[in-house]
């Protein structure tokens, strides 16, 4: 089924539309913006667009015998927002999950082709999926905070990345970064489930973005 929004997408005989190549909009994969001086940023961007940070080449994802995504090429530039659009069930999330090896967790899922990150194949033998996921963060479609307090939700992500001791400042920084601090600063010990759906999602965004990806 041809996707009207992505004229560049090749016609595909399978029912699954191909993940269209880089379009601009809504972030789902997060990369912390590189801290570069403003004047250096433009040059940096130009270089980035020439050399993608991540690249999918001939990626197909199978769930058992079912080929969910076929032969997809997708460059993802550094410091850029890459968006994917397409009809429901066309494999957008599947592609996303292929980027940090979350498909490993689904029994029977298999990825063929190469996904490179800084030029290394993240599916190569000897690559630890944990290391991949620590560098490539992910926010899910549905908010999924942990059944812990708001504070502990953020602190958990920080501790995984080796931070110890008093985390108050980092937690505040993370929540401020996700535009949530003002709403929750007086109820950090409250369950994350007491937040509204949108607040929960911002809490989730605050988590991995603090994990210094890249």
């Amino acid at each position: 089924m041809p996707d009207p929004f992505t004229p560049g997408a090749p016609a595909d005989s399978s029912r699954e539309a191909q993940a269209p190549a880089a379009a601009q909009a809504g972030p789902e994969v997060h990369f912390t913006p590189q801290e570069a001086a403003p004047e250096a940023q433009d040059k940096e961007r130009q270089k980035d667009s020439l050399q993608p940070l991540m690249e999918l080449r001939g990626v197909s994802v199978f769930y058992g015998d079912f080929e969910a995504v076929r032969d997809t090429d997708l460059p993802i530039g550094q410091n850029r927002i890459t968006a994917m659009i397409g009809p429901s069930g066309c494999g957008k999330s599947t592609i996303l999950r292929a980027l940090n090896r979350m498909n490993d967790l689904i029994p029977g899922a298999r990825v063929s082709g190469t996904v490179t990150f800084h030029g290394q194949d993240i599916y190569a033998a000897g690559v630890d999926p944990i290391q991949v996921r620590r560098r490539i963060g992910m926010v899910f479609q549905k908010p999924n905070p942990f059944p812990k307090s708001i504070y502990d939700n953020i602190a958990y992500g920080l501790r995984i990345n080796g931070l110890k001791g008093r985390l108050d400042d980092q937690v505040e920084q993370a929540l401020t970064g996700a535009a949530l601090w003002d709403e929750v600063k007086d109820k950090l010990k409250m369950s994350a489930f007491a937040l509204s759906g949108g607040q929960q999602q911002r809490l989730c965004i605050a988590e991995p973005s603090r994990c210094s990806p890249r």
């Binding site: 940090n100 979350m102 967790l105 029994p107 944990i130 290391q131 996921r133 620590r134 560098r135 963060g137 992910m138 899910f140 549905k142 999924n144 905070p145 942990f146 059944p147 812990k148 307090s149 502990d152 958990y156 992500g157 995984i160 990345n161 010990k189 409250m190 369950s191 489930f193 007491a194 989730c204 988590e207 991995p208 994990c211």
Partner: protein, 304 residues
Amino acid sequence: MTTTVPPAERAAAGPPSLRHSALAPRRRITNRVALAAITLALVVAVVPLAWVTISVLARGFEIMSWQFLTEDIPNSYRRHGPGMAPAIVGTFLITGMAALLAVPLGVFGAIYLNEYGKQKPLAQVIRTMADVMTGVPSIVMGLFIYTVVVVATGEQTGFAGSLALACLMLPIVIRSSEEILRLVPDELRQASLALGARQWRTILTVVVPAAISGIVSGALLAIARAAGETAPLVATIGIAFTVNPNLFSGQNTALPAQIFRNASQPFEGAQERAWGAALTLVVIVIVFTVLARVVVSRFAIKER
């Protein structure tokens, strides 16, 4: 059949009636019948429970006294009067030791089954065996420990009783914990793994805390069940009339064993003590259940 009136007709007949009587008679009657049936089922279910509780309370209180809780058991069934302390101490020690053996083992087993084993053949075999073991009569556990431990050591001890109870509890703890762990949504595991947490960390800090109240409930059910078990103890711990705080040497006794022995005597003195022991056991189980609930609610984070 109930029909929804089309908007046009409704307008003609004035505003729709929101009164209960406007409901179709069939729906009204069905609702009444269902409510009555459910209430009846509840009453029928409560009658035996209340009856047992009232009898145990009424008969048990006749003999209940400070002496009953602190004095040794008379060594004649004919004699009237108090004394159940050795059985109370025995129940605490034997059941406590059994819980210490079975609960950690069972919970770790359940974690293996649900988080690592999943559908692997080994996990399937363990799961099936645990299911079969829950159906094994408790006397079989008692006789098994009797042949393996008591005959080998040549002595009936409290610890042999603990082993028998632990065998009984283990499958219950495994299966109940596994069911609870299965209820933990996969999104939580994925969220944690997506942050770059390793599996052991995800299990320890996300999965188990999310399931802790259910795990504790399951463990409590198993402990309460074991505390009331008679058959495995009769075969393994022997009998004692004085307090034996040492689980590893000398015969021991426990409340269910005392209830069994005393209630099956034709003498009134013994039967009184059996009721008293029954009341003591019920109270102990209630106190522990409430305590555990309080502890679990402390663990739980505040919702509001």
